[in-house]
């Protein structure tokens, strides 16, 4: 029946949905219904079952206390300004150092071999260590040298530790970007008489940096979270401030508040990175 209709009406009524479109619409309705039903079921289970747990009353009091939340939230936001400040000076330093290390690893002249080895060694070491360990070693070790103020600040050396570790990852990302540029681009630039330096600066790097933009975005989102690790060596940023409030009020709600503040920054940033990545894959097709 449908086939007979198709063969006679296809030309006459271009607006009518095709057999395939009808089928796909049916499939879509079906999957939307299933997704909605299963989501509702899971939510209902959480809402009904969790309060039935024996400790729910106690958890609610110590993690979701409205009064404590209201009194500590402004202080947490204030402390988060320090996180942003640390991030703000670490991020550009990391980008520059990471790029420099990536370029070290790409040098081809034999005289510069030590530079190349330094690049490889650097990325191997700092990617091989837990971030918190580097922060401890630098944050406690270097101020121990007895340097004069401000060079003995754990705030400073903790940030330096973050920069060193993250620059190693960023360098690897940049390097993969540089290697993703096809050799024919270099050949074209070289054949025009451009020097290696100009080829890198005007032909390879602009393309490479654009290609690895989403990957680097993800690293910087991770950095935003890892700034909280500095709390272990002193600076009163949001995580440490939450800890102070926890002791003050004998209540865990400030941690929930801190989590919400982090998410307010990281979720939009993650979505944006995904959007960039998505746009790029679409362009390549």
């Amino acid at each position: 029946m449908a086939e007979a209709g198709l063969s006679s009406d296809a030309a006459a009524a271009p607006a009518a949905p095709t057999r395939r479109e009808l089928y796909e619409a049916r499939q879509r309705r079906r999957s939307v219904t299933i997704a909605a039903a299963s989501t509702a079921l899971v939510l209902a289970a959480i809402v009904v079952l969790v309060p039935l747990a024996p400790g729910w009353e106690a958890v609610q009091r110590s993690f979701f206390n409205g009064e404590v939340f209201a009194r500590t939230f402004p202080g947490l936001v204030n402390a988060f300004v320090l996180n942003i400040a640390i991030f703000a000076w670490c991020a550009p330093t990391i980008a520059i150092l990471g790029l420099a290390v990536a370029l070290c690893r790409d040098v081809r002249a034999p005289v510069l071999f030590p530079l190349r080895m330094f690049g490889a060694l650097y990325t191997d070491i700092f990617r091989g260590l837990p971030v918190i360990l580097v922060i401890y070693l630098m944050g406690f070790g270097i101020p121990g040298l007895g340097l004069p103020r401000p060079w003995n600040s754990p705030y400073l050396w903790g940030s330096v530790a973050l920069v060193l570790v993250y620059a190693a990852y960023v360098a690897e990302v940049f390097r993969s970007g540089i290697e993703s540029i096809h050799e024919s681009q270099r050949a074209a630039a070289t054949s025009l008489g451009l020097s290696d330096r100009d080829t890198m600066r005007y032909v390879v790097l602009p393309q490479a940096i654009r290609n690895v933009m989403p990957a680097n975005m993800n690293l910087f989102i991770a950095l935003q979270k890892d700034v909280a690790l500095l709390s272990f060596i002193g600076p009163v940023e949001i995580f440490r401030q939450a800890g102070v409030y926890k002791s003050l009020f004998a209540n865990f709600t400030p941690y929930v508040g801190a989590a919400l503040i982090f998410l307010a920054i990281t979720i939009p940033a993650t979505r944006y990175a995904d959007y960039l990545l998505h746009r790029q894959t679409r362009q390549r097709r």
Binding site: S184, Q185, A187, A188, A189, T190, S191, L192, G193, L194, S195, D198, Y202, V203, P206, Q207, R210
Partner: protein, 244 residues
């Protein structure tokens, strides 16, 4: 008369793969030499060697009496005198057509964009692309991209132009516009070496045609002789395969 460019016993191998096994070739000023032969016969490698993109193992490449394949010689000034255009265009995708063309003269010769504007615009006009100067490569057709690539090489004011199968990646209806550019350059007296599969074009314009097989020039001669009365069996076999 001494040749503009002359290759003497040029050989090149990649590992155990002998791609060029002693190539001798003279190209006079204003001449067009066509290299024909099956894929893998060494045409592309020969062009890349002349442009010093690949170092040769043995032999000499003499440009105006100077051996440019001399080990230790700075290749950069030589490359400025020899332009090359590739099969896959290799335009810089992040720059507009005009920036693609201006980059090398600006950086290598230190010319300002203002000084380059007039000559570069003239080149775009000459090859029918005046309306596309501000377009990015992905906004241009294959034929237009290849013409921009030719303009980019010409902007360095080379003395010799090398063309590496520049029409092979094009849709058939776009081949003509690129070949027209070559005709124009030939008329203007540019010295050119082409690796090509366009036998009709080689026959029409080439001053000399070389048939390459397994890294050697098997036969060389004016197109009238080589295409109508090939002396070598291998040349005959190749031509009968491609001229069907």
């Amino acid at each position: 008369m001494t040749a503009k460019l002359s290759l003497k016993a040029v050989s090149k191998s990649f590992g155990h793969n002998h791609v060029l096994r002693g190539i001798d070739l003279d190209v006079q000023t204003g001449q067009m030499a066509c290299l024909i032969g099956a894929s893998g016969s060494g045409k592309s490698t020969l062009l890349r060697c002349i442009n010093l993109l690949e170092p040769i193992d043995d032999g000499a490449i003499v440009l105006d009496g100077q051996d440019i394949a001399e080990p230790g010689l700075d290749p950069q000034p030589v490359r400025q005198r020899i332009g090359i255009v590739f099969q896959s265009y290799n335009l810089f995708p992040h720059m507009t057509a005009v920036d693609n063309v201006m980059l090398a003269p600006a950086r290598v010769y230190g010319r300002s964009r203002a000084a380059l504007k007039a000559p570069v615009t003239a080149l775009f006009e000459r090859f029918g692309l005046a309306g596309h100067m501000q377009h990015y490569p992905d906004q241009l057709s294959g034929g237009q991209q290849q013409r921009v690539a030719i303009i980019r090489a010409l902007a360095m004011e080379p003395e010799i132009m090398l063309f590496d199968e520049i029409t092979s990646a094009l849709d058939p209806e776009l081949v003509g516009e690129v070949l027209d550019v070559l005709r124009q350059l030939h008329r203007d007296g540019m010295t050119m070496i082409l690796a090509t599969h366009e036998m009709g074009f080689a026959r029409e314009l080439a001053d000399t045609v070389c048939f390459l097989d397994a890294g050697r020039i098997v036969e060389e001669g004016p197109p009238s002789a080589l295409f109508s009365a090939p002396r070598q069996e291998r040349t005959r076999a190749f031509l009968s395969r491609v001229l069907t």
